[in-house]
Symmetry: C3
Subunit: 156 residues, 3 copies
Amino acid sequence: MATSAEARLEELKLTLPAPGRPMARYKMAVRVGNMLYVSGHGPAKITPTTPVTGRCGQDMSVEQGKECARAVGLNILATVRDQLGSLDKVKRVVKALAMVNSTPDFLQHPAVVNGFSDLMAEVFGEDAGVGARSAVGHVALPNNIGVEIECIFEVE
Amino acid sequence: MATSAEARLEELKLTLPAPGRPMARYKMAVRVGNMLYVSGHGPAKITPTTPVTGRCGQDMSVEQGKECARAVGLNILATVRDQLGSLDKVKRVVKALAMVNSTPDFLQHPAVVNGFSDLMAEVFGEDAGVGARSAVGHVALPNNIGVEIECIFEVE
Amino acid sequence: MATSAEARLEELKLTLPAPGRPMARYKMAVRVGNMLYVSGHGPAKITPTTPVTGRCGQDMSVEQGKECARAVGLNILATVRDQLGSLDKVKRVVKALAMVNSTPDFLQHPAVVNGFSDLMAEVFGEDAGVGARSAVGHVALPNNIGVEIECIFEVE
């Protein structure tokens, strides 16, 4: 397996979406020293069937939620590359706060959020790509997106 | 426009409330190195009509929520000045996690949270005052406040 | 009172649970420089009656929620010792995001989260053990745990 994140992305045949633009008064990410603070991102509409909106336990199954969380990850990778010029500047995923649009009865937030975490591990590797994490349920998210994730990367 | 945050506050004729005191076992803010970690703050009761408590989508309109988020920002500014001696010690807003008291059907959290972000941009400027951000809905907040925001500032 | 956190733990006759293992794709904690980012933790089942699962305002009283939050703290201490070798390597609690499984009508999240914060103050002392904090209500948490807390420690 290639050791560069950009090379891995090619191996995985992953194409990143165009980097998102803020839909309100914030920046997509802010860097301080060697830490990149990434805003809460929603999912990219990768294919016509990518689950983007809906509530887990109601409109989204665990598998669909997982796919949605992976699509959030692709949006975040697009932001990170846009900010740093290359994903190869990432030293590690530090932490993520993963917020799942959830009914009161839905309890499998960690399985959903693995869609994001698996992607990060594929791109940055099993050590650097796996960070600290919280996965929790929210009563509502902006525009009814299924998953919103904010995270911190250590960067060169 | 004045370049000092304290001068801008005067220009804007904004008076900060008295800095809040913890209502439980925590500090209003903790500094480590050049980063100031600010606790989750609720809104200041700026005028008799400032919306302080209530749920967006039920007791609060988007406009009221926005006013509430701005009142949270004023409380946070009071804490930051209390901690640092002057708002001029702030280098930038790094990130904010903005938690909106929300019905399951409310979807306009970003518009609400702009009440906070617009204030920060007015006081610290369009670059330094605009940080990374997440805006999400919560089923309940302490004492039924409409908005709670925690944030990180880079400071001198 | 002893000034070492490990000595305090003995004085308090507190035994930490075995450190938890990730139940999904994440690390229990990640260190960058002098900051330890700890993943969202649930409560340890300290005694047969420790409240682990349930929703505040429905299945858990404020007192039970507080006990649950303390049990989260014990799990976090176990992780921190496991990561650093000794709790004496902790310089201070920087911040905590405390997420309480909550009905829409439950409003006493700060009282619940004091169960965690009181423990940190007992172990690390009134200054170093008390950090910035947010305490909020969530519609659902993984496996229906009562409280999930993520936090940051400054470490040697």
